[in-house]
């Protein structure tokens, strides 16, 4: 039995502890609610509702007792306040960081919120494609973000700026800055974010956590306040790739309510991650993986620390997969700001096709 404090455990460790009966979801929820209260100076948290969270935690503990728990049941998380959370079950407003929506009580859950939480089919008006049993995670908070996700420093929220927990004089990045800061500060083991032109990836890098912008269409946009509908994607933010994979598995999948949701079979990203690739070995677990890298995104003007960090990661990839860096991008100025949209890519031509 581990003596690690609750806040220092990631999703995987909390899931293991809950499964082993080391602690209950109510205990974890109580501990982390107190921590969220203690660190309001970060500006990461826009809303909590202890009563509603504890009710969800009790339901999760009951589900575990019934033997119907998933791996994530009872593990707490928090949502970027760009996701609609049904006020009748979350007790929290949905504001998108804007005073225009201050106090807004959503009558429904976003699909991502429902799938990570108590499932679809709750509330009225959820007709077909209902997935009654969600993952059973417990929502502890709604997290600050740039107003309507428009920003890259989380200084554009109507409810105040978010601070970077590593250095309070610095920004956490944005627009999912509250999510990145809360995970980095160990206020919550995982959070949702959304990414249009970097809003998960950039704050994750600023705060030293792991975040994924999934391929467009993997996660439903239903109930997500839109920024640019053909680019917006929901994704997980946590302390490790494995924790993100657990969340992504639960939150992804086809949703009839999102017109551009990808009609693909459900994927278990976590299991895929743990499966040894064909032809790979423990020493080279990524052997056979093809890695593409747009060389044009690495101009001479790139700052030394970013260049160094990315190249250290590339060296690690090279070591694990024997990948290397080369590419061509046919657009003349594709290293322009990240929101630039390129014409239809032909992957084999425009991006490096690297085979090990």
């Amino acid at each position: 039995m581990s003596t690690l404090p609750i806040e220092h455990r990631g999703v995987t460790e909390l899931a293991q502890g809950l499964a082993a009966g080391e602690f209950s979801s109510v205990e974890v929820t109580t501990a982390l609610l107190a921590r969220l209260q203690q660190h309001q100076d970060l500006g990461a948290v826009l809303a909590t509702n202890a009563e509603a969270s504890l009710a969800q935690a009790r339901a999760a503990d009951q589900r575990r007792a019934n033997g119907t728990a998933t791996v994530l049941t009872g593990v707490p998380l928090a949502h970027k306040d760009i996701f609609a959370t049904d006020f009748s079950t979350s007790g929290m407003a949905t504001t998108a960081g804007s005073k225009m929506l201050a106090g807004y009580r959503s009558p429904f859950d976003a699909t991502v919120v429902a799938r990570l939480g108590h499932g679809e089919g709750h509330g009225e008006g959820h007709g077909e494609n209902t997935n009654a049993q969600g993952a059973g995670m417990v929502t502890l908070a709604k997290l600050n973000c740039d107003e309507f996700a428009m920003g890259s420093a989380n200084e554009n929220s109507a409810f105040g700026a978010v601070k970077n927990p590593w250095d309070l004089a610095r920004v956490p990045g944005g627009s999912s800055g509250g999510s990145a800061a809360a995970v980095a500060a160990r206020l919550i083991p995982a959070a949702t974010g959304t990414d249009t032109g970097g809003s998960i990836r950039q704050p994750a890098s600023f705060c030293g956590v792991t975040g994924i912008k999934p391929t467009y269409g993997v996660c439903s946009r239903y109930g997500m306040v839109a920024f640019a509908s053909s680019l917006d994607q929901a994704g997980p933010m946590a302390r490790s790739a494995a924790d993100c994979a657990l969340l992504l598995t639960a939150m992804s999948g086809f949703d009839v309510r999102d017109a551009t949701s990808a009609e693909r079979p459900a994927q278990d990203f976590h299991a895929q991650m743990l499966t040894v690739r064909a032809g790979a070995s423990a020493a080279r677990p990524l052997q056979g993986l093809r890695v593409g890298l747009p060389k044009e995104f690495f101009p001479a003007a790139l700052s030394n620390d970013v260049h160094g960090a990315v190249h250290a990661a590339l060296a690690e990839l090279e070591n694990l997969a024997r990948a290397w860096l080369t590419s061509a991008c046919r657009a003349p100025n594709c290293a322009s700001p990240s929101t630039t949209s390129l014409p239809r890519p032909k992957p084999a031509q425009t991006w490096a096709a690297l085979t090990v």
């Binding site: 106090g103 807004y104 009580r105 009558p107 009225e124 008006g125 007709g127 077909e128 391929t215 467009y216 269409g217 053909s230 680019l231 009839v256 017109a259 551009t260 990808a262 009609e263 657009a331 003349p332 100025n333 322009s336 700001p337 630039t340 949209s341 390129l342 014409p343 239809r344 890519p345 992957p347």
Partner: protein, 99 residues
Amino acid sequence: MALTPDDVSRIAHLARLQLSAPEQAKMLVQLNGFFSIVEQMGAVDTSGVEPLYTPLSAVQTVELRLREDVVTETDQRERNQASAPAVEAGLFLVPRVIE
């Protein structure tokens, strides 16, 4: 094309934004910066490229999905109007904006 200070005050008026002179000057620089990005994008040769309705169709065939024309939502007027600052006879009341 580049915007002029007059364009900025007109847009600010239409958007009901009250901008001070320094804010207007800053906004002019930012808006013109955006236009210069759009001009770079416009320089890309897109002849023969079909417009995408979803980015996924860049890499796979995606059929536009249509659903049966049937009622799928139940009446939730009261829940949907619960957050409205003012409601009368089931209608949203909004401040008069057109004089």
